[in-house]
């Protein structure tokens, strides 16, 4: 019978149980009566004929069950009966049920929580209508398929006008603006969007409206805000029509987007949506030049997302996109020749000109996290399997009776699996609740660590995908924890088990070292140790990251992030402001020195540029240079700094001098540079770099001269946590490399109160210009400790540390359970041993030795597993060896001590056994 027929008959049998039973009984009666008639005809007496017919027929109940099975009639009825019985079993043993549900809920909860995060990061569709009909559109270089570029507005406008492939196409560019909130000016992430941005995504504003077509390219200052920013500003629906001051320009608020809307990205949402036309006037860009990029076909900076026309999808979009590419290249060959259009799923993580960028690491991280949480589920399953094995021993007689009265092994197996699945479902429900709470807590913890300009919009409510996966976890868990014990119980010896006097299998031989129960404990301990070590490595990594040495002392020094460019000031005004700010802060009592810098070590941003020895032409005879010393270009980190920068950091120069006031303030001073020792060694190996000249990479022969003289050499400074120990570094004076946003770094005199100084500095800056946006004012240490890298490490430490502790808890419960069960079933043996002279200490030692032997084997296996995990996780961790001495000693020690306690409690109980009572109970 095929499965569908079986289910159909099963359902029918549920509704018409009585009729089905009658049909089968009549059929069986018919066969027995026929046989009896034959016997009668053969000369037997009527009684003898009937008895012989029944005897030949066998166990009537068993045959009846088989008939019902073969007709599929009993399927539904039996399933319902199994569920009812399983339900009663769980209620009958509330202690067992509670412990089992809690154990498994921890495992399923951890997996659901991790999958929720991965789902939100990688799979959950963005908040949009029919997200499957949306795709990112990318421009790929034909000659180099790995090379992509953004779109210019004119190209976008032409593509949008063609409706063959895309019904509609949106464009966006993410940036930051400074928003005035009361006395404060805060940086806020803003996405500059085409007017159809919201309609293409199919999401209407919660209040107000989106952008009008005429607002797209004009400089009409209108804004739409995201839900979280609206919440921060007071959540007043009457805000529509009110004004916002962004980069010193007054905008009218025209719309508020609904909760959960994150634009085309996932997880984080910008605060503001502004028309593309405001990109040039507001965008903070080096040089502070207000360009008209929307009119320039070679100004590529937009990302596109399209909604496919009916009949077009990702699968069949290649040909129509090819046509579009050719049309664009034919119309504007100079800008578009050599490029083709490709469609791919929308880049979920950040802003990218290519479809795949950034997903490799994320996928690996997601896979590692899910693998670790799967280990936790496995530990919980091993634990539960052990509990069921123990419980199975106590239920052998019950199942022997069932089988004696006609239950088939398959039926017994099914009943036990139903019990297991019901248990898993209860645990799954508890696990999902746990996961919702855990992911919410994680989001709350993670929020402050991430960008302060964007809003983390992680929604912990599980969607259908998360619920389906959780159900999958339940089914998987059932197979893992219930199948083995159920299989064992279904294969019992009916005769032997029926003779058992007690419910407990007390006379069976004690389990050997490699008995199933013991192997499960060894597995649990091994997996727990691996997770505990991983947690320990993350925690240690955070500790090291926080204490990381960038090459200078954080001390109580602080900095202010000044965004004068965002206030709408031009270069001369910005330069003037920064000069004034530097002077005023330096004059504060308690300030030893201060200096400007474009970026700072361990900050959230750093910059790099191609450099080479001055005078190098782009190519020698059309061939690239062989070495940097010959003129080949190389990448160096690049910073723009003021006077006293190294003094302010507390880093002495190796040779030469710092930049002078003239070099920092004048745009016409001779071009000079300070280089790090490693850059000097690369460019001029074995020579003194002082007085030498270098330049930015010359791509063309007619490129302007950028050569500069080296006037100082400094030691290496570590720029970021996870990167190389040191980078070649080029420092330029502010005078020859203008930047609209700068950091004002302040060195505090020994003994001075940095908190008070920071307050005074804030006041001084407000006095200097009340409209000057100060995006941050904090100590270097606070900045480092709250950086994205440390926040990610801290989050990893929280997740894996929790995994480790839960795993430890489960392992302890597992060890305790097995030892306690072992002691309970060995009471007689312990009694005999004590009657023969064993002291309490002998018994204590016996039980402890067995438990600790299992633990030791688990620890050995776990250490090998931990090394493998250490190798995998090493790439994410800061300054941690694959075998970290701390994690690899503390985790086993903690687990061993916990195991000792878990063994000691049952062992102590065993040592208190009264031999007379134990032997009398026999």
């Amino acid at each position: 019978m095929n499965p569908f027929n079986k289910i159909w008959h099963g359902l029918r049998s549920l509704r018409q149980a009585k009729t089905v039973k009658q049909e089968i009984d009549e059929e069986l009666r018919f066969h027995i009566e026929n046989r009896a008639a034959e016997n009668l005809a053969a000369g037997m007496s009527p009684e003898e004929a009937a008895r012989e017919a029944r005897r030949r027929f066998g166990n009537l109940q068993s045959v009846r069950e088989e008939c019902r099975e073969s007709r599929g009639a009993s399927f539904g009825e039996a399933t319902a009966q199994d569920v009812r019985f399983a339900h009663r079993q769980l209620l009958k043993n509330p202690g067992f049920t509670t412990v089992a549900v809690l154990t498994l809920a921890l495992g399923i909860g951890a997996n659901t929580a991790m999958f929720s995060l991965v789902n939100a990061l990688l799979f959950k569709p963005i908040h949009a209508q029919q997200p499957g009909h949306l795709a990112g559109v990318y421009q790929q270089e034909k000659a180099d398929s790995g090379n992509f570029r953004f779109f210019s507005y004119p190209n976008y406008a032409d593509l949008r006008a063609s409706k063959e492939t895309f019904e509609d196409l949106l464009a966006f560019w993410p940036g930051n603006v400074a928003m005035r909130e009361g006395d404060l000016t805060r940086p806020v992430a803003a996405t500059f969007v085409s007017a159809n941005y919201f309609s293409v995504l199919g999401v209407a504003p919660l209040h107000g409206r989106g952008f009008l077509p005429e607002e797209e390219t004009s400089t009409m200052p209108v804004a739409v805000i995201s839900y979280p920013l609206w919440q921060r500003l007071g959540a007043d629906p009457a805000m529509i029509g009110k004004t916002l001051v962004l980069n010193n320009t007054t905008f009218t608020l025209v719309g508020i987007m609904p909760r959960g809307f994150t634009g085309t990205g996932s997880l984080t949402s910008p605060g503001l949506f502004l028309p593309l036309g405001m990109m040039d006037p507001l965008a903070v860009r080096p040089g502070g030049v207000v360009a008209n990029t929307l009119a320039d076909r070679s100004a590529e900076n937009l990302s596109l997302v399209g909604r496919f026309s009916p009949g077009v999808s990702l699968a069949n979009s290649t040909a129509p996109l090819q046509v579009l590419s050719e049309r664009l290249a034919a119309a504007y060959p100079k800008e578009n020749r050599g490029y083709q259009l490709v469609a791919a799923p929308i880049a979920r993580l950040g802003f990218s000109n290519s479809p795949e960028r950034g997903l490799g690491d994320t996928l690996f991280t997601a896979a590692l996290t899910l693998a670790m949480s799967a280990m936790l589920l496995l530990i919980a399953c091993l634990n539960l399997a052990n509990m069921l094995l123990a419980r199975g021993s106590a239920r052998r007689k019950e199942f022997a009776v069932r089988m004696a009265v006609g239950a088939s092994r398959r039926r017994v197996l099914r009943q036990l699996l139903t019990e297991g699945f019901l248990l898993a479902l209860l645990s799954g429900a508890a696990g999902v609740l746990l996961a919702v709470w855990a992911t919410h807590a994680l989001a709350v913890f993670a929020g402050p660590g991430f960008s302060q300009k964007e809003f983390l919009t992680f929604n912990s409510t599980p969607d259908v995908r998360v619920l389906a996966v959780s159900l999958g976890f339940c089914a998987l868990a059932t197979i893992f924890f219930a199948l083995g014990p159920a299989w064992r119980l279904a294969r019992l010896n009916v005769n032997a088990d029926l003779k058992m006097q007690g419910a407990e299998d007390a006379r069976s031989k004690p389990a050997g070292l490699f008995a199933m129960r013991h192997l499960l404990v060894i597995g649990q301990v091994a997996l727990s140790l691996a997770l505990l070590v991983a947690g320990g490595m993350f925690v240690r990594s955070v500790g090291r990251a926080v204490q990381a040495n960038p090459g200078f002392a954080f001390g109580s020094n602080f900095y202010a992030e000044l965004q004068a460019g965002a206030a709408g000031y031009d270069e001369p005004r910005v330069r003037e402001l920064y000069r004034g700010a530097t002077e005023q802060i330096a004059a504060l009592p308690g300030v030893e020195s201060d200096s400007l810098a474009w970026s700072m070590p361990f900050g959230d941003a750093d910059y790099a540029a191609g450099v080479q020895r001055a005078g190098s032409s782009p190519l020698v005879d059309g061939k690239p240079f062989a070495t940097v010393a010959e003129g080949k270009d190389m990448v160096a980190n690049n910073n723009v700094i003021g006077t006293d920068y190294f003094r302010t950091l507390g880093v002495p120069l190796l040779r030469g001098r710092e930049f002078t006031r003239t070099e920092v303030e004048s745009t016409n001073a001779p071009r000079v540079a300070i280089v790090s020792q490693s850059l000097a060694d690369e460019l001029w190996p074995g020579e003194d770099a002082l007085g030498r000249r270098l330049q930015f990479t010359r791509a063309r022969a007619d490129a302007p001269d950028t050569s500069m003289e080296v006037i100082g050499v400094v030691p290496e400074l570590k720029q970021d946590l996870m990167g190389k120990a040191s980078h070649p570094f080029l420092y330029q004076p502010y005078g020859q490399a203008y930047q609209p946003s700068m950091l004002l770094q302040v060195r505090v005199s020994p003994g001075a109160d940095s908190k008070s100084l920071m307050r005074q500095a804030g006041e001084a800056l407000r006095r200097l210009d009340p409209l000057l946006p100060v995006a941050a004012l904090k100590t270097l240490r606070a900045s480092h400790e709250n950086s994205v890298t440390v926040a990610l490490l801290r989050m990893g430490a929280r997740i894996f540390g929790t995994f480790g502790l839960v795993a430890l808890f489960l392992a302890v419960i597992g060890i305790y359970g097995v030892r306690a069960y072992s002691v309970a079933r060995r009471t007689r043996e312990i009694g005999i041993r004590m009657a023969l002279g064993a002291s309490s200490r002998d018994v204590l030692r016996l039980i402890l030795r067995e438990g600790l032997l299992l633990t030791a084997m688990g620890l050995g296996l776990g250490l090998m597993l931990a090394v493998a995990i250490g190798k995998l996780a090493n790439g994410f961790l800061y300054d941690i060896a694959v075998i970290d001495p701390f994690a690899f000693t503390m985790a086993p020690a903690l687990l061993a001590l916990s195991a000792l306690l878990a063994c000691w409690l049952p062992a102590r109980r065993a040592s208190k056994v009264d031999p007379i009572v134990a032997l009398r109970s026999e």
Binding site: K509, R828, L836, G837, E922
Partner: protein
């Protein structure tokens, strides 16, 4: 009366003591129940000399096994006086009682109580393993007992592979392997058929002749004839 000791002397009592090995004075044992106190043993006064073979008899519930447990120092919740080789058992701590038991007492159970997962030789080794005896010495003792009880061929068998009589033979061998001065036997032939029971009783007789003091509990009048005197109990009272 001897003072409290940390290690019981391992001397030959028959040679050094003129006092009885066991002296019970007004020994009583009762359980507290909802209805009040239920007495199991009442005013037991009994002297047992070293080298005696005593039989305790009486109907079920008379207190025979309880008395045996007290004599074996497994039970310490009783009233009265109990001197064992002049040691005041009532005043001894649990450890000291266990030490006395370990050095002087062997016990044979009606249900044999062999450990199912250990071979005959390993079962015999158990009492020795709890007595700080070196392994080589233990092996020699086990070999000696196997030989003496004529069960060398069974040494690697598990209890489940032996008959009831053979199991009880091993249990007796285990009880005497540590050379106890006192052998207590609770219905030692209760689970054996007549021939096997006779063999065990002959063995007891031989052990007694070799100097072991034996106290057995039995319902069998025939078995009682192996002993030198019979103590009868009824409802916890010792019959005069």
């Amino acid at each position: 009366m001897k003072p409290m000791m940390s290690t019981p002397p391992r001397t030959d009592i028959a040679q050094t003591n003129t006092e009885p090995m066991i002296q019970l004075r007004d020994l009583e044992k009762c359980y507290k129940t909802k209805a009040g106190f239920t007495y199991v043993l009442r005013q037991i006064n009994l002297d047992i000399n070293a080298g005696e073979f005593i039989t305790i008899m009486g109907p079920s519930g008379a207190g025979k096994s309880t008395l045996l447990s007290i004599l074996g120092m497994y039970d310490h919740t009783w009233e009265g006086e109990f001197l064992f080789l002049d040691h005041p058992v009532r005043r001894l701590g649990a450890k000291e009682r266990a030490l006395l038991n370990k050095h002087y007492v062997g016990f044979v159970f009606q249900q044999f109580h062999l450990l199912d997962d250990l071979t005959v030789a390993e079962n015999l080794d158990i009492p020795l393993s709890y007595r700080d005896i070196r392994k080589s010495e233990r092996e020699a003792l086990v070999a000696d007992v196997l030989d003496r009880f004529n069960i060398v061929g069974k040494k690697d068998l598990y209890p489940s592979q032996l008959s009831g009589g053979q199991q009880q033979l091993v249990a007796v061998a285990r009880a005497i392997i540590a050379k106890p001065k006192l052998l207590l036997a609770d219905e030692p032939t209760g689970n054996l058929h007549t021939d096997q029971g006779r063999e065990i009783m002959e063995l007891f007789k031989k052990l007694n002749q070799e100097g072991t003091t034996i106290i057995q509990v039995t319902h069998s009048e025939t078995n009682a004839t192996y002993g030198q005197r019979i103590v009868r109990l009824k409802d916890g009272w010792m019959e005069k």
